[in-house]
Amino acid sequence: MLGEGIIQGLAETARNFFGSFVEKDRLTTVQFPEERRELAEATRQYPFLLYDGADPEAGLRCVACQICEKECPPRCIYIEKSKDKKPDFIGKPQFYPAVFDIDVSVCMSCQICVEVCPFDAIRMDNEFELSTTDRFGGLLWPIATLAKPNEYYQSIHPTEAAETDERRAKELAEAQAKAAAKAATSVAQTPGAGE
């Protein structure tokens, strides 16, 4: 009422002012390019495409089902389906994307593409230092830029990657068991069939 509040406020700011010179833990600023804080595991920036093995072309998990393209709220994904098919990780012939582009100037990092992907083919990257001197170029990322190996995914999101890998290993085992069973029945049935 008589201005005590202002005096208290001034005292508080003065305490902060001098305190910031004395107590080091008051200053929470990280001096970025020199000092880096470890990123949280759930950090996400832009999506990338996963591939298995060494060859990005052969190992790309994406089957060009276009669910992500349809679900993407800002519509930043553009996919062209291939004409032919190639076998996926369990040996089933699948289409693959002839063109898969993400316009990162439109992407809003919502992760909906990751949520809807039934093939574990698209995941979020945590790379954020993406500035360039080129104003317009390099914003449309093709497969060559987007494709990254599974080991990279394991290194940036270990928990998530372990869960995905486990599920895929189970799927593969199931598929193999099924194939083995089928082979066995077909072997068993072959003589009958030959009758």
């Binding site: 009422m1 008589l2 201005g3 202002i6 406020g9 001034l10 508080e12 700011t13 003065a14 902060n16 002012f17 305190g19 910031s20 010179f21 008051r26 200053l27 929470t28 600023t29 001096q31």
Partner: protein, 406 residues
């Protein structure tokens, strides 16, 4: 060279230098040289001080908020103003298509020009006023009215509603706060008996024991100083009275439509006004260039002036880092309901102080000036407390209750 002149040389160094320069120029050019030698240092020193202040302000605000502040350009970020200058000089200067081009162009120039003119009457050291006008204070306030015009020119010519709103707020605020600003300086004029800023400082540059006769060291002077500084902050649109340029509500106010170098000129003018009005506060209440203790009079007078100026600037920054922006009605209430009556009370107290006896009692340990100290202190404090209670309306600050949003 005698001892006293050895003290006087650093004190009068600039005066001697100017005299020497004028004497060594052709007789025909002497008036022109004299003017240039007086004006050019003012035009260099205060913008330089502005550059220092911008980085000082950012550092101090950062520390108040437990941050580092600028620390990239040069050691500890002290070269930041150079980077800022390069940036504002190389930026595109955009004039809105619908703007009144002539007025839009003239507004920042008028503003900066008027801000520089205010320095002409400030005594920045012993014998260091550019002009010793008999009505220096009057001149200062007359010049101080030009920025209002410039601000309105800027706001009106931009043809932008944010600029217009900012300009209207600025006019309302500047006119309202000019009243307590001038009334609180009238108390000093009454005590000093002169309008000349040079004589006002000379009246204060005397000492009893070791203490100076600064007006801030009297009850009415202290109250007057606080009123003056609050009104000065409002007059130069300084936080917490920065409504005319509230970035968060009207996007910069009257200079919304200015970019590049013209924006930098507005920024410069704002700080120049702040320095000028702080300089006036120093001259009126803090003894101008006089030393705070009688044993420190050997320090050159201009050092004292600039030391006080920097101290006041740091004070302004401190307040900016503390107090949030006022609302328009709170702003007007403060000016007309609290500061105007209080400045009238200060004038009354200054009058009483003048006529109550000073000096020692004969045969008593208490000096006779005790009486006027007590009387004037009560005269200032009691109305302040009563007025503050009255304006608060008896309600304390209670927790706000939300009827629907709980």
């Amino acid at each position: 060279m005698t001892a006293s002149s050895a003290v006087q040389v650093p004190d009068q160094i600039f005066v001697i230098l100017k005299h020497w320069l004028v004497m060594h120029s052709p007789a025909l050019l002497r008036p022109a040289v004299s003017v240039l030698v007086t004006v050019i240092p003012i035009i260099i020193i205060f913008p330089a001080l502005f550059a220092v202040t911008t980085v000082l302000e950012r550092k101090e605000l950062a520390r108040i908020q437990n941050r580092y502040g600028p620390n990239r350009v040069g050691p500890f970020g002290i070269l930041q103003p150079i980077a800022d200058a390069v940036k504002s000089l190389t930026k595109e200067d955009i004039v809105p298509r619908a703007a009144d081009r002539v007025v839009h162009f003239a507004a920042p120039l008028v503003l900066v020009g008027a801000s520089f003119l205010a320095y002409s009457v400030l005594p920045m050291g012993r014998n260091m006023a550019a002009v010793d006008l008999d009505a220096g204070l009057l001149f200062f306030f007359a010049i101080g009215a030009i920025p209002e015009l410039a601000v309105f020119m800027a706001g009106w010519s931009s043809r932008n509603k944010y600029s217009m709103l900012g300009a209207m707020r600025a006019i309302a605020q500047m006119i309202s706060y000019e009243v307590p600003l001038i009334l609180s300086s009238i108390a000093v004029v009454m005590a000093a008996g002169t309008l000349s800023l040079v004589s006002i400082v000379e009246k204060q540059a005397r000492y009893s024991w070791i203490l100076p006769h600064w007006y801030v060291l009297t009850p009415w002077g202290f109250a007057g100083f606080l009123l003056f500084m609050v009104a000065a902050a409002a007059e130069v649109n300084r936080s917490p009275f920065d409504l005319p340029e509230g970035e968060s509500e009207i996007i910069g106010g009257y200079f919304t439509e200015y970019s590049g170098f013209k924006f930098a000129l507005f920024f410069l003018a704002e700080y120049l006004e702040m320095f000028a009005v702080s300089g006036l506060g120093i001259t009126l209440f803090l003894g101008g260039w006089s030393a705070p203790f009688s044993f420190l009079t050997w320090v050159p007078s201009w050092i004292w002036f600039f030391a006080k100026l920097v101290a006041l600037i740091c004070g302004f920054i401190w307040v900016r880092g503390t107090v949030p922006r006022l609302r328009m009605d709170q702003l007007m209430n403060l000016a007309w309901k609290l500061m105007l009556p209080m400045s009238l009370v200060v004038i009354l107290a200054a009058g009483l102080w003048r006529f109550l006896p000073g000096g020692p009692f004969p045969g008593s340990p208490f000096p006779r000036s005790m009486i006027r100290w007590v009387v004037c202190a009560f005269l200032v404090a009691v109305p302040y407390v009563l007025l503050a209670r009255l304006l608060a309306g008896g309600k304390g600050i209670a927790r706000r209750v939300y009827r629907y949003a709980e």
